[in-house]
Amino acid sequence: MPFEWIVAIRYLREGRAQSLLILAGVAVGVGIIVFLSALISGLQVSLIDRTLGTQAHIVLRRPDEMPRPLLERDGPVAVTAHVERPAQRLRSILQWQQVLDSVERMPGVVALTPTVTGSAFARQGTANRAVLIRGVDPAGFLRIIDVGSKITAGRFDITGTDAVVGSELAAALGLTVGDKIRLSAPDDRSEVFTIRGIFDIGNKDANERWVFVSLRSGQTLLDLIGGVSTIEVKVADIFSAESIAQRLSARTGLEADSWMKTNTQLLVGLRSQNTSSYMIQLFVIIAVALGIASVLVVSVVQKSREIGILKAMGTPTRRIIRVFLIEGALVGLVGSVLGVALGAGLSLFFASLAKNPDGSPTFPVDLNLALFLRASIIATITGVVAAAAPAHRAARLDPVEVIRYG
């Protein structure tokens, strides 16, 4: 074993109480970092999961209709003209089959499905509710939003004139599986559907308004025969949704809205949560670094005579410096291993404290190897950095002074 390691390990073992205290200090610091990170990223993952439970990562639709001004915008003559914005009708995406092919080839896209979406009324007896018709291809759609697992009664079956409605709508209209319901779209297109399933996807608005029918029924009702109004896309990395959306928009000429754009507030919230978490971690790291540094400074003072003797014996200064850097690194590493265990234990304990009715934890924690490695690496580097000042103090010791007065 190299000289530096032998001396560093022996010194740490020698200063038992000091070493234990500083290890405990590092462990608590790392434990807090692990616990805080696990809790915050766990909460964020569940928040994002819940948000993405009712919407596709990216939704493609035709750009709004705008009248084309006849005057050149950048022309030399300034002309004031009032351009009236027209009311938007429901229109099909042009050549959507080719668009589908081209979207599918975009890297990062894992699933996509064409849908027709439009407003209608649901009638049951004299009761009337405004609803959103969602004409989908069941197999494709379930890969985008998993309604299949959120069915509370019946099943997700929308062949022919079958429909699946949300729990709120079912309650409002007194519907159960097997009941009939009339869906009326504008221009007096209407059709009677049989309820095959009732879903609850944890979003009141969707539960109240969504009515799933087959793509063909949707097209008929909304007068889009052979057409689709939107293409819904799922991507592999949810945080790349916005950049993929921009690329899709450029490639297809369609309007592409990512979930990140439609949930800006959520993202801002998550980001500020991250910032405050990083601030707390930073101050914990500083506190740990000061702790390590102060213990090592004391250790250098206590051992100044021995350091002087080592130097008198011809020990190169860089070796002396390394002894203390290694001590710092070891304290950081060993402390962080203890801290990871502490933080993980604390997280699991916290997660087990409160449970939702379905058995999932109220405070989900996200413990993973990357977090543990990150915490350990940060603690080890902190140890080395904290040891730098004491190490240089040791290096500056004059052996003559130490031997004479030591």
Binding site: M1, P2, F3, E4, I6, R10, Y11, R13, E14, R305, E306, I309, L310, K311, A312, M313, G314, T315, P316, T317, R319, P399, V400, I403, R404, G406
Partner: protein
């Protein structure tokens, strides 16, 4: 002509910045290989300062110190440290062993610090030295568990571990009872005779000085006498008790 082991040429040493105190005034002498020299003088005469200069722990204010003809003033701090570690061994008044380590580890330490990595040969060498100073059965004890005399013998073994050409000993027996002191002194003599290691021993004790081959006396930072000592045949413990000590 061969260069002497160590040559001092008109060495002075000042301390202090605003009030300069000259501790050593123009010291010149040489130490030859295999010599056994005592450095005596009253307290405050500059013995320790001189020892530190000889040991390359400190640099002179003026004058030159040549080690085997090489001017040590021209060496950088790092090179000086290496040269010191390989050429000069130290025995201090207070053993100055490393308390966290065992006897054999303490003896290995200079070699370890020089080469950077422990090996079996190093350990064998250290064990051999501890056997020669009569501590074969104590080598795995922590040095804090040893008696004063044993500690000083470990320190002697450590000073010799790099097989230095010169060992500087600062009051090596000053803190020991007579018997332990004699034991340590006898060891120094033994290594001097068997290995040809040169020794320079700083001492207050005229009896000890008398048993050296050469005696340099320092008073107020100047060499006042440089003479050959006794023949080293003293069997001092009994002599001293009889008060038959001295020149």
């Amino acid at each position: 002509m061969d260069d002497p082991l160590l040559r001092l040429e008109d060495v002075t040493k000042d301390y202090g910045e605003r009030v300069v105190t000259r501790v050593l005034h123009g010291i010149s002498f040489t130490l030859s290989s295999g010599g056994f020299t005592a450095l005596i003088g009253p307290s405050g005469s500059g013995k320790s300062t001189l020892l530190h200069l000889l040991g390359l722990l400190d640099r002179p204010t003026s004058g030159r110190i040549l080690l085997r003809g090489c001017d040590t003033g021209e060496l950088g701090q790092h090179a000086l440290g290496r040269l010191r570690g390989r050429t000069i061994g130290f025995v201090f008044q207070f053993h100055h062993l490393l308390p966290a380590f065992t006897a054999v580890e303490n003896v290995m330490m200079p070699i370890l610090a020089d080469r950077g990595r422990a090996d079996d040969e190093m350990r064998g060498h250290a064990i051999g030295l501890l056997e020669r100073v009569g501590l074969a059965d104590r080598m795995h004890n922590r040095v804090t568990d040893l008696s004063g005399g044993q500690q000083q013998r470990v320190a002697v073994a450590r000073a010799l571990s790099m097989t230095p050409a010169l060992v500087l000993a600062d009051e090596p027996t000053g803190n020991l009872d007579t018997q332990s002191g004699d034991q340590v002194f006898a060891l120094l003599r033994q290594f001097n005779r068997e290995q040809g290691t040169a020794f320079l021993i700083v001492t207050h004790d005229p009896c000890l000085a008398a048993r050296c081959d050469r005696i340099i006396e320092l008073v107020d930072g100047r060499i006042t006498s440089d003479r050959s000592g006794g023949d080293g045949q003293w069997d001092s413990a009994s002599d001293r008790r009889d008060g038959r000590c001295g020149d």
